[in-house]
């Protein structure tokens, strides 16, 4: 095996890991700290992804003119669509806007996800803090199905392409930078962007919790909700905001992921199980643990997918994440960085 092949899988692992970490980070804010088993977290990721699709659709809203010289599949005159943005801002600006619809969608995703998060917490989750976990599972699972089905009814079941801006098409040549020679170690630009974006969001969330008074109160609330309440601090309101932030993080993870995998209404469920595994392997109640576990599992999965490894242990690529989870949980009772007493009974 060449060094470049190994480095390539490290990059892949970091990239996968950043997706896992980002989703797990949002989940652990809700699940590991508020103590709510949120099965709708995958759906939040999926809605974020569909924000990108929505922005793309909005920007491509078109006037229809009929071109008599061409025909459509039924032999009728062809309808030519001209996006409004093109007729308003000129062709080049309009095209550029459509081209950049995924990054632009971030500006829609943040408010939409915050609102969804607030509404969800105030309208539903709030009433379930004191209910058993089993009730939380059922209600959030029901919510996840409902959200999915609404998306499916509107956007259909097939994947919808939401490509990255054309400026990011292509690969960065790590090989020539680190002196392995050109073409040896190529990595797609957008995946590098995703990794950096994930690191930025993770850093922001950590900084927010670490360096603001708000964050301090929330952290105190996680540790001992009752005492903080006795101090006359309205912890409920802060938890609502926390839930909104968690939803926004999930949504951002989703919106930037669309060029990597075209979104469909099932994208959330695909990530749901893995994100729970990541959170628990990281350790309940630990934000750092979730991020660490995300990267560990991402890198392991990448290496297990290598042909040389599969030939050595058939099927390892299918099970490596779960196998790693079992080994870690048996070796470390509370996951990588878990706190004692959180969700242990």
């Amino acid at each position: 095996m060449e060094l470049s092949a190994i480095l390539l899988q490290v990059l892949n692992g970091l990239d996968k890991g950043s997706a896992y970490a980002l989703i797990a980070l949002g989940l652990t804010l809700i699940f590991g700290t508020l103590g709510v088993v949120n099965f709708a977290h995958g759906a939040l990721f999926m809605i974020g992804a569909f924000c990108a699709v929505t922005v793309q659709r909005l920007l491509s809203l078109s006037t229809i003119t009929i071109d008599e010289s061409k025909t459509d599949f039924l032999g009728k005159p062809l309808q030519i669509k001209t996006p409004y943005v093109e007729s308003w801002f000129g062709e080049s600006v309009g095209n550029a806007l459509i081209d950049w619809s995924v990054p632009l969608a971030i500006f829609l995703t943040i408010p939409v996800m915050l609102i969804i998060g607030f509404v969800m917490e105030r309208g539903l989750i709030k009433h379930f803090y004191k209910r058993p976990h089993s009730d939380q599972i059922l209600v959030t699972f029901g919510l996840a199905i409902v959200l999915q089905e609404i998306i499916k009814a509107y956007f259909g079941a097939n994947q919808i392409p939401a490509p990255a801006p054309s400026a990011f098409i292509g690969s960065f040549d790590f090989g020539s930078v680190i002196g392995m020679g050109p073409g040896k170690l190529l990595y797609p630009y957008w995946r590098i962007v995703y990794f950096c974006f994930a690191m930025l969001i993770i850093a922001l969330v950590f900084a927010f919790l670490q360096f603001t008074t708000f964050g301090m109160v929330v952290r105190a609330g996680m540790a001992d909700r009752e005492t903080v309440g006795l101090l006359g601090i309205n912890i409920d309101k802060r938890f609502t905001i926390m839930f909104g932030i968690a939803a926004a993080v999930a949504g951002l993870a989703g919106v930037m992921y669309t060029p990597i995998n075209s979104p469909s209404y099932t994208s959330g469920m695909d990530f749901l199980v893995i994100s729970f595994v990541v959170v628990v392997v990281g350790g309940m109640g630990s934000l750092g643990g979730a991020v660490l576990a995300g990267f560990v599992l991402g890198i392991l999965e990448s290496f297990a997918s290598m042909r040389e490894v599969i030939e050595f242990i058939p099927g390892i690529n299918q099970v490596v994440i779960y196998l790693a989870a079992i080994v870690i949980l048996l070796a470390r009772p509370r996951g990588l960085l878990g706190r004692k007493g959180v969700m242990e009974s």
Binding site: G142, A153, V273, V280, P333, E344
Partner: protein, 387 residues
Amino acid sequence: MLGLSRNDFLMLLFVLFLVAAAPILLNPFPEGSSLAQFNAGYPDLMQRFLIFGIFAIGFNILFGLTGYLSFGHAAFLGAGSYAGVWMLKLLTINVIPAIIVSTLVAGLFSLAIGYISLRRSGIYFSILTLAFAQMSFALASSVLQPITGGETGLQTNLNDPRILDGANTTGNIPAPSLFGWEMRESMQVPVGDWLWTFNVGYYVCAFILLIAFYISIRIFRSPFGMMLKAIKSNNERLSYTGISPRPYTLAAFVISGMYAGLAGGLMVSMDPLAGSERMQWTASGEVVLMTILGGVGTVLGPVIGAGIIKYFENIFSKINDNLLHGWFSFMPDGLEDFMVAVIHPFVGKGWHLSLGLMFMLAIIFLPGGFVGSLHNVFSRIFRKRAQ
């Protein structure tokens, strides 16, 4: 009677009545009427009600009593199914060995997984069971294909050995049977406009469900059951008394795993196919949802929950626009189209939406599930009377 208290015995009789009369009770609408679509009294669905009922009863022994939430019980259902089909293929088409062996295989499998997973509790336990089940699923659909048939599933074939029956390679694949009574045989009794179908396989399932249900009541009321409840309510205090809870939880885990295997064995006895997706996390999740929906820790709840979910899956998914137009054809055209448009998103391909909404509404308004909240209502009434 039968070692049960009067209330429990009455409940058993009630269940006996329900399952015996289900072919009649589940077909309340006359054949050919527009509401006949809601009839559930056909063999496949009735068998499914009972089989998933058994699965959920078993799951409840673990989750309802000890509070250990396993997210991997589908693995035992799957293991039981595979064992069952192999018995039908290799040994005999008679279902008895299939059912027994699938229960035992699932028992052994759950012993191994339970032994490891029970070293942790709470969410860590849940994720361990989930991980084991997902591994089983992934391996069954890929590397273990020669044993499991992969994604296509394991089926009986014409040229299977069937050692005890003596192989026949002409004609049709024999159907699973009980001493010559084929599971798919039915007796149909038309009464007026109604049609009742009494199916052999259904009554085999019914007989086994009653036994399973009876055992479950006995476990719930036994000292062993009390011990399990103690583990749920106060694990720490229990360990101060010097009692190690692990043997008890492991026993509960294995029992519930055997119930799952039994359900798997019955499933392949009714319809000889075992597919790997039976082991997927969604299948594990389904039994969790069934139990919660019906009422965690109640004896009857899981069966009810299983029935409701299977009803949605099989009945709501089959309602199409054509049928809707039929129902509302008595209305003026505009109103008819409006009604169809209103209901359309919730049925047919939208049946998942109805299911999701039902989950949410049920748990918001009925904390503790259907039977759980029924309990609450009754106890409130009785308390009032006592005052």
